[in-house]
Symmetry: D2
Subunit: 380 residues, 4 copies
């Protein structure tokens, strides 16, 4: 695994736990952790439970005792590491977004398709797909329970920079982060909307907004220690992204991603309305899927709060009895299960790098649309 | 109508509105309002829309231009007025609780049964039965959708005297109010539980609690004007009432009524669990009934939030389109509709005085049980 | 009052009830109802409680015993009736949308402004403003409790034509209805968003969608009686409308109005995020306002479910005790109260016709934007 | 660790994870798993991640490489194992309920108190205390935010035997399980109620109900294989338990535990009303605590939905960013953290065996009360 902060911790817990609850066809060994700084990487390896550590990722991707490379670094290094690992014959799990640009994503997708010829697998980490309630949502749509889908309304709402005095972190600088809320969290709801509906966005009208143009530099940037910085720097990414969308099927979408929705902490909300029914989900109540079945008599129809904790629900049988909910990191465990199973079975895990590339194209079209004030088509 | 405060206002709006939305077989005329004080009764009649007013209720119950007597006074005058009105051949609608004692309620029930022989109708005003969501709940149970009922948990939660410095109103004095939360609000959930399930409570173990034993006298009692009273008086009724219950069917009930549930304003909550399904209701979201249908596959079962605003729902077709909810006073309008229809049809409206008497017996058993610390049976 | 269907019934109940609960400075008399068909108008007058009726609206607007003309007809007759009434010196309450076009609305606004010089008042009926929870929302924003507003997300979701076999009513024909979901329900959420924030939309990117292009003709159109029509007609209005918006303050808006949101019956939802707090409302739970106060410690901050039924809440003191909720039609009663009070006080009631005109301009810009696939500014 | 089914899996995940997220003063090693059957214990040790296994628990409690004995067996073996382990100088974590009888619990408590003299620690596993929302609830009460507590209403609702044809498992036989819903799940809400309020139950009136007196024997009991058994056996424990309670402070409690609440899967609900505020919790939405602060102005007071995922909340800083919820098993991890910390610090972890004994006495009083139909005091 390369990278050891927020995503590194989540992925480590997943690698550690998957085989304890699921019958895996292969037994993962947490062999080597890659990082940049020797001391911090060593400490992380000890804490997160990796046998060894390196500070040189090329070494990691070429080691014989490594079969899978799990990339948890920021987006600007994804392409280089993933392409090298695939070339070295290692299966790759790459955190989302696939890359910071369409061009990189295209290159990665070509590498993945070439590797697939050799039986080497590549997968991108849109983990929320593996929340049981989301997997159930997809199943209900696929089973025709919603009929023809008409509307998708999807929001990813956070509030961690709603305070204009929150410091200018690297996530607010375009050269490092690629984009702001759009790529960081908007990408997730694009993936979920397309995954649940089995449909693809074909056209968008977008609007990116940066509400707070300047922020205090974090102490690390300001060269100050121990005192609050008076210096300010420019915010060069979007604070919020909104877009209208059309899907291939003719369904209409409304999307929003923001870090300024005061009081919403990780509100991934998606509602889908079809001719026969509707679904609604909010990650802040992640073990629940709301389902309206319009084929019931009006007298007794209503949104049902399905507690997605039954053994018949996706992934749930491996865990606890009904009503004993799962948490955020369980989606990562399910990702490991699906990846390891695909590797053992010689099948292609999803979402593929091509799926990641298509999402990158949607993100790109939203940015272009916002700049040109016109609708943009998503083209392959 | 006799009485013109809170209940008088609600009843007046009901008499005024019923014929505007429902096809009534008879057209009610708001003829005479009865009160004690000339000036206040005159003002109330003008405000509430009554043609005339009197300060002598016996006059009212004997007038030729009066067909129905609607009793909205405190409980200690119900028996006298109702019995006189029935004797005079007037149909009677009597606010709940039917009376302040079992003995009075028995006398009233005898009078009602005797009057029924002469085609004169008597009905007691447990209005919450006529909230559409409650009427739907009863229908679902009656239709067998819950199977065998196992549990009833019912709460009536308010908080208006949670502050120990709230003054000693007449409602907190036994000689005037009869009982505290038990009779005032507990009676409602007893009625709802029995109405929805179609079952009767046969045995109780109760506990009455008076948390605040003394309160400041209201200015009127203390003979002070303009200054906060230092004088205190004893609270002689229960602040809260709780009881366990067994029903004739073997179902188990847990009941609670309190004016000390801080933050709960008028939370009439009832949940019923049966072998095939469950229902849940909370008056603070009065247009909604929650229904769990256990005959659905586990994968998709969940409590459904039925918005009880469809034309197929009880009483709703007369009102607004789906999603346009009703309010507190609509139950009173439905009560007028049902009463007038029964009078015109020559049928017996419900709940009858006998129903009111049975509830009085449950209240009485709870009090006795609390005093004796043993279970008490409800006997006819 | 002119018109006697859905809105006529709601307005009648409001005129009848306002003085029974509120201290009105003037006592409304329900004098004349105007309609087209003699028999139906007579029946409606009897049912809704009007003293007289006419089938000739010009007669109504010139009668000496008429002081206020309440226009509840479809949008295509608003301009003519309102302008005539104002010219005749009658105060006017006009249902929304103000008109079917910007041009008509401009003419009406000129007439209203001219009439105002003579002390004659004109008001447009965006009734949802007068739901207590909405009035409280505006107050909280005006009091600065949200700080700088960043986001508005507003939806008006219904589902009454989600079934593609629902018949082609006049509301789905452009020549009669003007527009579809956009003007009928979208206008409401535009008004609410601007009212609550005290801000104005200045720019939009819109998308109108007609999912079902043809529908069975209703029997009345097909010349058939008693049998289901096989004939189909074209739907010439939008089924759904979505738009992104920018406000004068720099806040970002996302709006959606649809009649295809299966399971959503009258879900008027509005969420506002500001630098200090957030608000959320859903008309399907109309007595509740959700409020997040970000100035509290993180440890105890959360969206609060304010039950807007306290005497300190707007309009509520006239009604029932805490926890005893109001229903759909109460907003109309509050509208009567505010209008009558303004007339008596000689002040201008709001929303004015100029407010209605501005909303018409937003609607117009959304339509143009949808047609041109570009952003449109709202210009005066 | 002794025992390897449901609780064994949860405890194993906790021992494995605690040190990965929290800074533990000691590093737990998962050394030996004890079970009865060699093959099944070996498989469980491999799956759950224990280094060795034994089928002889006395061996386990005397091994030199064992410092802590974690008892996850059924209640009838708790006393014997715990007392032996404490005598052998091992720290003990014992699953709840502490024992199947008051006598056993007393003996265990004496052993624990004697061991404490020698610095050997004993703790009982009421894990739900360590859900962050529950720990926050306790803190708010302890900080005085609720004022004087008046009401506790606590329910533990499940539905896994609502179907009368569900088989007769050992959990429904008194000789093996001790009691039914009362001890299995009722014990949890008794602990939570006392823990959150910091108060003790002193008196109860209970009612135990067995709705379904006979059930089909499970195949294992009936000696049948592959065919549904026609044989039936008697259910000898309670299906549901309800009781009224008084607390030392004078607060009033209403408790209910049942396996017949159709649609409720693991609904641990607790509401506490005090003179200054109220709290409400439901485990089916376990990352949320509802809090009503009555010291706010009426206009803006309401139950706030605190998402208990902030770094300032108990235990949360070790985990994920705000809005990224925890699941069922995290409480077990927190239990390990607290136990290991107490052992390292030489302090007494809670709940102690004495706490477990007091709960056993409450359970015992409920049973006696149900049998005698009178109130019972809890005596030390």
């Amino acid at each position: 695994m390369v990278g050891h902060s927020f995503m590194g911790a989540a992925h480590s817990q997943a690698w550690r736990s998957a085989g304890r609850f699921f019958d895996l066809p292969l037994a993962p060994v947490m062999q080597v952790l890659g990082g940049r700084d020797e001391a911090r990487t060593a400490a992380a390896a000890a804490r997160l439970g990796w046998n060894q550590h390196v500070t040189d990722w090329p070494e990691l991707v070429h080691r014989e005792d490594v079969d899978v490379v799990d990339i948890c670094t920021p987006g600007d290094s994804h392409a280089e590491i993933a392409i090298a690992a695939l070339a070295a014959g290692k299966h790759v799990l790459c955190e989302k977004p696939l890359a910071n640009s369409v061009a990189e994503a295209e290159e990665m997708t070509r590498a993945a398709e070439e590797a697939a010829q050799r039986g080497v697998r590549a997968m991108v980490g849109f983990t929320y797909r593996r929340v049981p309630a989301i997997a159930l949502a997809r199943k209900l749509v696929a089973d025709g329970r919603l009929g023809t889908v008409r509307h998708v309304r999807a929001q990813y709402l956070q509030d961690w920079i709603a305070d204009p005095e929150a410091p200018l972190s690297w996530r607010l600088q375009k050269e490092r982060a690629g984009s702001g809320s759009l790529g960081d969290i908007g990408a997730h709801v694009i993936d979920l909307a397309q995954y649940i509906t089995g449909d693809a966005i074909t056209e968008v009208s977008g609007h990116l907004e940066t509400f707070v143009k300047e922020r205090p530099l974090a102490a690390e940037h300001a060269g100050l220690s121990g005192t609050a910085s008076q210096e300010r720097g420019e915010v060069t990414v979007d604070d919020a992204a909104m877009f209208l969308a059309r899907f291939a099927s003719g369904a209409a979408g409304v999307f929003e991603a923001t870090r300024f929705a005061t009081g919403r902490k990780n509100a991934i909300r998606i509602e889908v309305n079809g001719s026969l029914g509707s679904l609604a989900f909010d990650f802040e109540d992640m073990n629940v899927l709301q389902f309206f079945d319009a084929t019931l008599a009006d007298e007794e129809a209503g949104f049902r709060r399905i507690l997605v904790t039954e053994p018949t629900h996706p992934y749930v049988a491996a865990w606890w009895p009904p009503g004993h909910g799962l948490g955020y990191e369980h989606g990562f465990t399910h990702q490991v299960v699906d990846l390891v199973t695909a590797i053992a079975d010689g099948t292609q895990p999803t979402p593929t790098f091509a799926d990641g590339l298509q999402i990158q194209r949607v993100l790109d079209a939203v940015e272009t649309s916002s700049a040109t004030r016109t609708w943009q088509e998503i083209t392959a």
